[in-house]
Amino acid sequence: MKIVDQVLNGDKRATAKLISMIEDDERGASEALAAIFPHTGRAHTVGFTGPPGVGKSSLINRLVREFRERGKRIGVVAVDPTSPFTGGAVLGDRIRMADTGTDPGVFIRSMATRGHSGGLALATFDAVKVLDAFGMDLVFVETVGAGQSEVEIASRAHTTVVVQQPQSGDSVQALKAGILEIGDIHVVNKADLGGADAMVSNLDFMLEERMGWRPPVLQTSALEGKGIKELADAIVKHYRYLKAGPMWRRREADRARKELYESMRRLLAETFSEDAAGETLEGEVAAIVSRKTDPRTAAKKLLRDLKLGR
């Protein structure tokens, strides 16, 4: 495909267009994704999650500069919420990433969730693949400001950075399950506000070594540019840890499994939304309503009859 060749040749416009094609689920998107897939798997994917307003975008802005100085090419996919009422969105993460300007080694894409839950958009990690094929060494993914249970990023990224700020909870808050368990690296940003030491020790108390990696807790100030080198070093260190042992392959397999299930689910949904299958479906719906069958039995029957994988 022409657009795929253009992406592989470093064409920014084509890369942006391909991401839109995937987001809008346009004709040709699946074929294009299939064609770029052999060219992916090189980039180190780093997810950033944490509550809204803790400075994820500003931190990424600083990290992009830091990794650019180290000669790396960086892609960023920044996700913001879509309005459930109007379907519209204001995507503002780019404002905090303005230092990047026209640097040819950086590609930033803002993305709206479009109804997908879990802090990501459906197309987020397909966009990551496009940026990987485009030749980026690292791809940063910024989730929507996540609460306590938006943990999808951890099963998708190689490295997950959980960002918090000082004075956002005591040691019991740190005990709670969820977002704290997914961090490979923990960051207390806005250290310039004070109170960061207490926050760091509360978090540090909760964390222990798992499979040879002990999540570090770092202090940063994106505002003042402090702690950025140390955070970049921790990201590189985690990458080396993943690559040195079985973990890189294991995370790739986790992601592949998830994407496989997801693709099957989507194909199934699409098959049923087609007219012919829709009629069969409606037949079963009527049978369920009149109590001739039950939903589970009907589902099994439909799956048996389906000619999938055309």
Partner: protein, 130 residues
């Protein structure tokens, strides 16, 4: 999934008055569009780079500093240079009547001055994005 209209709202140049840009961004959001807001003090180069990476259908430029005659046509020119002349450029802000025709000749498709009903602006972006 239907194609979403994506719009970049940007403030080129040095003025810090972004109320109007934000009001327009909000109206477009409420009309179901995806609006990328890039904030203050952007150079034409920054704006064009962002528009290409974000694959927007249109760019809305807001200027209240009087520098629109330099900045708006620059954005149009740079887009053409990058092979992205199909992206629609419109302007808003404090723009004297005598400048409107000149801007349009320079490739700025529409200019919305103070008092323009938001519905008119929304409709313009909607028709340019489809």
């Amino acid at each position: 999934m239907a194609k979403k209209i994506r719009v970049l709202i940007a403030k080129p140049g040095l003025d810090g008055h972004d109320r109007g840009a934000k009001v327009v961004a909000r109206a477009l959001r409420d009309a179901g569009m995806e609006v990328i807001y890039t904030g203050l003090r952007q150079s034409p180069e920054d704006i064009v780079e962002a528009a290409i990476q974000e694959d927007v259908d249109a760019i809305g430029l807001s200027s209240l500093s009087g520098a629109h005659m330099a900045l708006f046509p620059d954005v149009v020119k740079l887009l053409k240079k990058r092979g992205a002349g199909d992206i629609v450029v419109v302007g808003g802000g404090i723009i004297p009547d005598e400048d409107v025709a000149k801007l349009k000749r320079a490739g700025v498709r529409a200019v919305f001055g103070p008092g323009t009903p938001l519905a008119e602006i929304v409709e313009y972006f909607r028709s340019s994005g489809t």
